[in-house]
Chain length 259, copies 2
DNA sequence: GCCGAATAATACCAATAAAATACCAATAGC
DNA sequence: GCTATTGGTATTTTATTGGTATTATTCGGC
């Protein structure tokens, strides 16, 4: 079996890293399938064969194989053998979700940094009094920053919170949510509105684009478990340089595969 | 390992200030997460590893790590390791389902009507051939309509499908998905990109706004259970009259993540 | 100078995962 | 049917992980 030998060769190659054995093996098999060394319908060597040739326990082999079965890449039949699953698209692990700014940028291989535009306590605007439920005698904490990816300004984030939950805005580190969480004010729910707007002069200048260019505006209201509004954030993204990607899913795909 | 090393590098860098060790470390980890060096679900080096590499006590490391756990940035599992918490956004409502425009607006209590702009079979554009996987001899079905809510034009929807799944575009009624479902071609998964764009002359005229006004552009690719692309839709919404609402549930600190 | 809180270190406890061993159960081929 | 071969499972050992109690040190305010 040439294909099997190639798997073993790959395994040997990667066996220098300190990673767990079953992960190394899993990766080797996965690559063999991806490169087409073993195609859909082909049988893998038996678990015992792999185990003895690679000189590891069969349970370890099994752990690797079962991960791939769960991932839909392999199919096993009791008493028969292990086979490469018939073509079927890879089941995406991620459920419906919006990717966050930093996550998204990291995946695109960009380095992200932020510049503070504002951190301080102010008298609340009428809008802030409404949304955050403040009286005119209370103060509001405002935290604003410019998000920059690969030296290109990408977004402006302006958050408003009650001063009672963030008495010292200057102390906020790189993550606002971390600062909130550490004082026991972690939001558990949020409602987000995504719309489009033409950038005004000030925002356009910060984002280094001509005024009037289209921007993605996101308004988010975060709630505590008690239902109280804790934060209101309005962000503007450069429309020409950023887009939101959302993956949607309706139903679970069927699992049964019987030849 | 590279990510871990970068954390240590950052730690070293900031180690000149007189601040407490655990604060310096906390900031380093926070930044590493924040700029995506280690993403959600990734494991941190073990507390002992960090301690020995940074040449500080493990309890000090622990103090820093636990602060971030309390802040919801990290998640720890006894006997297993410390992991970056899954990013907070999880789509609950409108974005998590493939809702049709009609459903969406009905929920907001608006009466909706549509005007057909186009229904026909065409030779595919290069973009359509790529996305839908068509050969140049096959035909593409295009369905375009202007969506009007309460007598205000709100959106332009242009859908492209392989003619093999929609041989008679003229027969499409008020719902494209209904037509697809009846021939057993119901999409189960979609990837959606939301961006902002300045409306061109033609689209602006249709939407009855001046050219250059900001519009929400949504590109959606729908997949069958088999993984085959079935539909490609590009929609433009009036930025001043429509917005996407998404309800997000933020992750609980104790929530399961499995590497 | 004294006290207390924040900081840091030491030593030990507990949960989990990785891996191995031994055995059970289904299938294919005769 | 029987039998060799396949995947399936239960149990245990070991190393590694986070968790905790206890103690020493430093620093700031009185």
């Amino acid at each position: 079996m040439s294909a099997a030998d190639q798997i073993f060769a790959m395994l040997k190659e990667s066996s220098q890293s300190g990673a767990p054995l079953y992960l190394q093996l899993r990766k080797s098999i996965e690559e063999a399938v991806n490169r087409g060394l073993i195609g859909p319908g082909d049988a893998l060597p038996s678990e015992r064969d792999i185990a003895s040739k690679a000189d590891i326990s069969r349970v370890t082999v099994r752990k690797a194989v079962q991960d791939l079965v769960k991932g839909g890449i392999l199919v096993q039949r009791h008493g028969s053998g292990t086979f490469v699953a018939p073509r079927m698209e890879r089941v995406e692990q991620s459920l419906s979700r919006l990717t966050s700014f930093t996550e998204d940028m990291a995946r695109r291989g960009m380095t992200v940094r932020s510049v503070w535009l504002d951190r301080g306590l102010y008298a609340p605007s009428p809008e802030e009094m409404m949304v955050l439920g403040l009286s005119s005698t209370e103060l509001v904490a405002r935290v604003a920053r410019l998000r920059i990816a690969n030296d290109t300004p990408l977004a402006i984030e302006r958050a408003s919170l009650s001063a009672s939950v963030l008495p010292d805005p200057e102390a906020v580190g790189s993550s606002l949510y971390a600062a909130l969480g550490m004082t026991g004010n972690r939001p558990v729910r949020a409602v987000q509105r995504i719309s489009a707007t033409n950038l005004g002069d000030a925002d356009a200048r910060l984002l280094e684009v001509p005024p009037g260019v289209a921007g993605l505006q996101i308004e988010r209201i975060s709630y505590l478990a008690s239902g109280k509004v804790i934060e209101f954030t309005r962000s503007v993204y450069r429309g020409d340089a950023y887009d939101f990607v959302a993956e949607l899913r309706l139903t679970e795909p069927g699992e049964e595969i019987r030849p």
